[in-house]
Symmetry: C2
Subunit: 295 residues, 2 copies
């Protein structure tokens, strides 16, 4: 199958590797020329800065842009991939976006004859690269069927949430509520340990072997212990994702005391100039403590 | 070794089973006669409502009361176990208590010739029963050595935090910050899913297979999906433990935005009459949603 991956960030690069490994002809689209050149070097069929510049049409598109605005531009905007999609080619929308954006993109693509799967993903770059992402998807059965070769290549587990576009986005947003709060809670706990004079390596060991552990604590607080804020995923991604969580609460008039608190912590870190650091750098919102330095 | 277990709640009962299985003569102390009678039936040496009522002296005591007030009364109060402890017998203080209480109890016991290990535990009743608790302990090496037979019987992992009484309590309190925030965050996420019309069973499946998972989410939100609030550990335990976290922040003049928010959620649940339910019942603070009912 000839598949375009739109948005070659860490997740897109991983997904592209999985698709190439599964034998698909992969075209990469990213405004950053270095990103799609890396794809071609990794065995991709071709690459371009916009979808319209691709040389050959594609039978499916996997969208892994940072946000809905980028996704809309890359699909439906000027120079978008629309003219290079074969008639009826399905679009797998895997960026983390709002429910309203998922519904609007689904409707606008459907009006042009392209079914969309509302299919956010989880798992991080490593699982994207090994074809083991978790996909939480909503859409008609026919759209799942049309994208089966892509799902087989990139996912270890596919959850079929419902047939309603928007439910995939909702589940991902609720997932990000947990992921974001867990990173911020990990930072708060490690900051308190630093303030109380407990060695962070010891605190990390205890928590990761006890009931206070979380996937995010184990993965991200390692970076704090190592003093290494090279981004796996950036602070600004959680400013965006917890922003989507907050908007969801506003839309449903529903209180989200922890998520809105965590949003403020990430937004504070970003406003202080740490937006491009690893998301574990949210710990820098806590003043007056000595954190480990990178060796 | 002849060991007394003081406080036969779910953790104490589990620890007592581990000690009996390891071949120790176990005496149980709990004001509730049914609790220590169950211990005797399970193969314990003897039981009593107060330490002073035990028939034979004990060579070590393991304290697993609900709080510091109960611990102090059972050790040093009228009818306390002090007169039944052999000279120099060590005390393993495993209740979750404040740093100040750990230091005061350690000093008061030392003044009477009994070394104390500041040794909070984690793992829940199941791991207590199988002798696989995680112990995060502080105290002199000689005290660790004196309690080695007890540690061998009840713990899978023993962290030696430092030689300073109070550091064990600090590490446990920071651990409880994470555990409590994770339960409250799980409740907030599941409440939002209910509000948004996502089936909770589906939400649970997705999260437990993705990066948003935590030990507490996986364990406690199962109770929400099942609509079963039979307590594993009660809401009021986290009112106490997140209260200790909040006090620690106050003592160090350190901000704990997530922990204090989670404290308010558990306190709200307790004030609404849910204090004796499973701690996952903190989800009942979210109004206007339909939660699963027990089948």
């Amino acid at each position: 199958m000839r598949v375009a991956v739109i948005g070659l960030g860490s997740m897109g690069m991983g997904a592209e590797k999985s698709l190439i490994a599964a034998g698909h002809a992969v075209a990469g689209v990213d405004p950053r020329e270095t990103a799609w050149q890396a794809l071609v070097e990794a065995g991709g069929a071709e690459g371009a800065s916009t979808g319209a510049e691709l040389n050959a049409p594609v039978e499916a598109a996997l969208v892994l842009t940072v946000n809905a605005q980028q996704a809309r531009a890359a699909l439906l905007g000027e120079g978008g991939i629309l003219e290079e999609l074969t008639p009826g080619a399905p679009v797998m929308m895997s960026a983390t976006i709002s429910v309203a954006d998922a519904k609007a993109l689904g409707a606008d693509l459907a009006a042009r004859g392209h079914p969309m799967l509302d299919a956010p993903v989880s798992g991080g770059p490593a699982k994207a690269g090994s074809g083991e992402m978790t996909v939480m998807a909503a859409g008609p059965t026919a759209t799942f069927d049309a994208l089966q070769p892509v799902l087989d290549a990139v996912a270890a587990t596919v959850y079929r949430i419902s047939e309603t576009i928007g439910d995939g986005a909702t589940v991902k947003i609720i997932h990000q509520l947990l992921a974001g709060v867990h990173i911020a809670a990990g930072a708060e706990a490690m900051a308190l340990a630093a303030k109380a004079g407990i060695p962070l390596e010891t605190m990390y060991d205890v928590v990761t072997h006890a009931a206070g552990n979380s996937w995010m604590f184990e993965n991200r607080m390692r970076h704090v212990v190592d003093g290494d804020y090279t981004p796996t995923s950036m602070v600004d991604i959680f400013v965006k994702d917890l922003g989507l969580v907050t908007e969801t609460g506003l839309a449903l008039k529903f209180p989200l005391p922890l998520a809105t608190t965590a949003y403020s912590m990430f937004a504070t870190a970003s406003a202080a100039g740490h937006g491009q650091l690893d998301d574990s750098a949210v710990i820098k919102v806590f003043p007056g403590i000595d954190l480990p330095q990178k060796r």
